[in-house]
């Protein structure tokens, strides 16, 4: 009783006074947990797969909703800033694929490791980065998560290894991280992501072999958003069953637009790895609304109808919202309240990102090597030497 009154006051604080409407329904009205039926995963080299009946609690639902909404709004803001030329260079947006990042993170710990390619803004957030740091990195300012030196593709956190521009290059790295986990005996694993285009790179197959041979705790995740830049999967791959490509590695094909599916599959995969059975491969079938990057309108290789269809039938945020509302786990106003809060957070972050100063010139040559004492870097002329600190 006291708890629900306290919750009401918290909610009132959110909406700055106009929340009395909400307090008409106390929180004891909401269902705290509900069971959902999710899609069965396609299995490869596995006798049984993830559960098809899952439990979602109200708190979890609200947290996933909020996280996905932050990611969505952050990407849309980045789109806006890019068009205003505040962000330049390359910017690969993640909207549409939020369920993958949130679902994955829900079943692993922050102490586990994750590495992905260049569509990283979402993962940087779920792995511990703040929206302010992410946006400041996009605009190349000193408050950015990589001090403004990396940009859109190169963002990192303590257990998030980026942020890699060269396609496929991150996969062997991920296996190496997993080897270190094994070696250090800390029961951690590494989630190693790549896309449907990257799945055709040679390094990935080399990594499958090493991971299976040495039973590394790697979860390979192929985020199949159907298009490698502008090339559809049918035109690029001899086999579009990406979850079977591991050949001797067990695989799962998961509906990547449903956060509950992704969460359950990841839970299954994480158990598999942690029990010492070796690597496992998950193909997340997902979709991106934007083009490959901001220089790609995304319409020359797919139709507007297709995008609209996915948006209206399988949008991850809409699906979660639907689940929660239909099972009385939240109210429309509450979710709207979260939306407003998220919008404000993103606005503040964008404000920071556009006003923070750029990194100082001295930063140009820092962090090339690890060195003590600082050394000099040859510059564009004989007599120009800049100092490199690390």
């Amino acid at each position: 009783m006291l708890a629900s009154i306290a919750s009401v006051f918290r909610v009132t604080a959110w909406k700055n006074g106009a929340a009395l409407i909400m307090s008409a329904r106390t929180f004891t009205d909401f269902t705290t947990r509900a069971t959902f039926e999710i899609k069965k995963c396609d299995l490869f080299l596995l006798d049984e797969g993830p559960a098809t009946q899952v439990v979602l609690t109200r708190d979890e639902g609200l947290q996933y909703y909020r996280t996905m909404q932050v990611m969505r709004r952050m990407e849309l803001k980045a789109d806006q800033l890019y068009k205003q030329k505040m962000i330049r260079g390359f910017c690969h947006l993640y909207d549409g694929q939020e369920a993958c990042a949130v679902g994955l993170e829900a079943s692993i710990n922050l102490s586990d490791h994750l590495i992905t390619a260049y569509r990283v803004h979402g993962y940087t957030y779920t792995r511990g980065g703040t929206v302010k740091e992410i946006m400041a990195e996009l605009t190349g300012r000193r408050g950015g998560i990589a001090k403004g030196k990396g940009g859109s593709m190169h963002m990192y956190c303590k257990t998030f290894y980026g942020g890699n521009g060269i396609i496929g290059a991150q996969v062997p790295l991920g296996a190496g991280v997993a080897l270190a986990c094994n070696y250090l005996g800390n029961n951690e694993l590494c989630v190693c992501l790549y896309g449907d285009g990257a799945a055709n790179q040679g390094q990935i197959f080399e990594t499958y072999n090493m991971a299976a041979l040495w039973k590394l705790p790697v979860i390979f995740v192929c985020e199949n958003n159907r298009y490698a830049m502008g090339t559809s999967v049918e035109r690029a791959a001899a086999s579009t069953d990406y979850y079977k490509r591991g050949e001797f590695i067990p695989g799962l094909r998961v509906d990547g637009m449903d956060v509950l599916c992704v969460r359950e599959a990841t839970r299954f995969a994480a158990d598999h790895c942690r029990s010492g059975k070796g690597p496992i491969l998950m193909e997340l079938q997902t979709y991106r609304y934007h083009g490959h990057s901001m220089s790609d309108p995304g319409l020359s290789y797919r139709t507007r109808e297709e995008i609209w269809e996915v948006r209206s039938k399988s949008d991850p945020i809409a699906m979660l919202k639907d689940h929660m509302l239909s099972h009385n786990m939240a109210s429309v106003e509450e979710l709207k309240g979260i939306d407003v809060e998220v919008r404000k957070e993103i606005e503040d972050a964008a404000q920071f990102a556009t006003t923070d100063p750029e990194p100082p010139l001295e930063e140009l040559c820092n962090h090339i090597f690890y060195n003590e004492p600082p050394f000099e870097v040859r510059g564009t002329n004989l007599w120009t030497k800049l100092k490199s600190l690390s």
Partner: protein
Amino acid sequence: MAAAARLFLRGANSKLSIAPGSLGTTHAAHFTFQPDPVPSQYGPTQKMNLFQSITSALDNTLASDPTAVIFGEDVAFGGVFRCTVGLRDKYGKDRVFNTPLCEQGIVGFGIGVAVAGATAIAEIQFADYIFPAFDQIVNEAAKYRYRSGNMFDCGNLTIRAPWGCVGHGSLYHSQSPEAFFAHCPGLKVVIPRSPIQAKGLLLSCIADKNPCIFFEPKILYRAAVEQVPEDPYTIPLSQAEVLQEGSDVTLVAWGTQIHVLKEVASMAQEKLGVSCEVIDLQTILPWDIETVCKSVVKTGRLLISHEAPVTGGFASEISSTVQEECFLNLEAPISRVCGYDTPFPHIFEPFYIPDKWKCFEAIKKMINY
């Protein structure tokens, strides 16, 4: 050092201010494209930019050589830089086709196509992505003829890749890796400065019986417009071109940097009364030692400039050879105005690239040595 940095910034006036929030200034290009006069000896010409001149060269090749095939990532619809627009429709999908995302596979496959006797023109989407294919290029393509005692060769292979800084490319869309390949005997490395040169040099590379890597300055794809001959023509490889004669300083560069140096030459003439000889090296490997040395013997001073980092950049090879050949003719140490020894930066690009002010400063120092 900080003082030197400030000096450059002051000298650079509007273009390079890295003041907080000064965003509009990063858009200005660091060079002005200077078109060549219309060539009269190759027949009727048409206005084309760099990517159109490449398309024209490829069109001529596919028309005259029935074994020629073009492949790479996204070439079928025209390529991310529109270099292969219209070719698939004109010549068929068995001659212009997409490969999956696998650079090592693309080049390896290309070597095979070339060895079997067809003309292979492989595209690597950005020169920054050529490294997975580095083993195939250096260990297989370059050494094929040598190791088989001339029984086999992959001379029919030409690899094309967009190259160099573009204003916002950051670490992995701006690299100039010519120095890595210059270290490999058996390959030819060619970099054009303009559409007319590009078409002629590309056709020479395709015709050349050695594996060639053709780097195309991506910042010039749209910016460089010239009257380019429609018919095929070749420009000889391994011949540097003297663009402007002079008597006091020799300036050597290739690709986009030539346009920077041309501007530097006119600045030097105007402000210092110094007469510069500008040489476009064009072919990096094997490079035209004679032309450069003859020029240095005449002027006594040499400045080499490229975007790639200074340590181990190709300027070091030129510098070393020139001092061997022309030691007693040198009036001042050879100057290399190149990129810093850092990865190609994201936000610091305007400061990183060897722009005209840095080159101008280097000339001043050489003259007053």
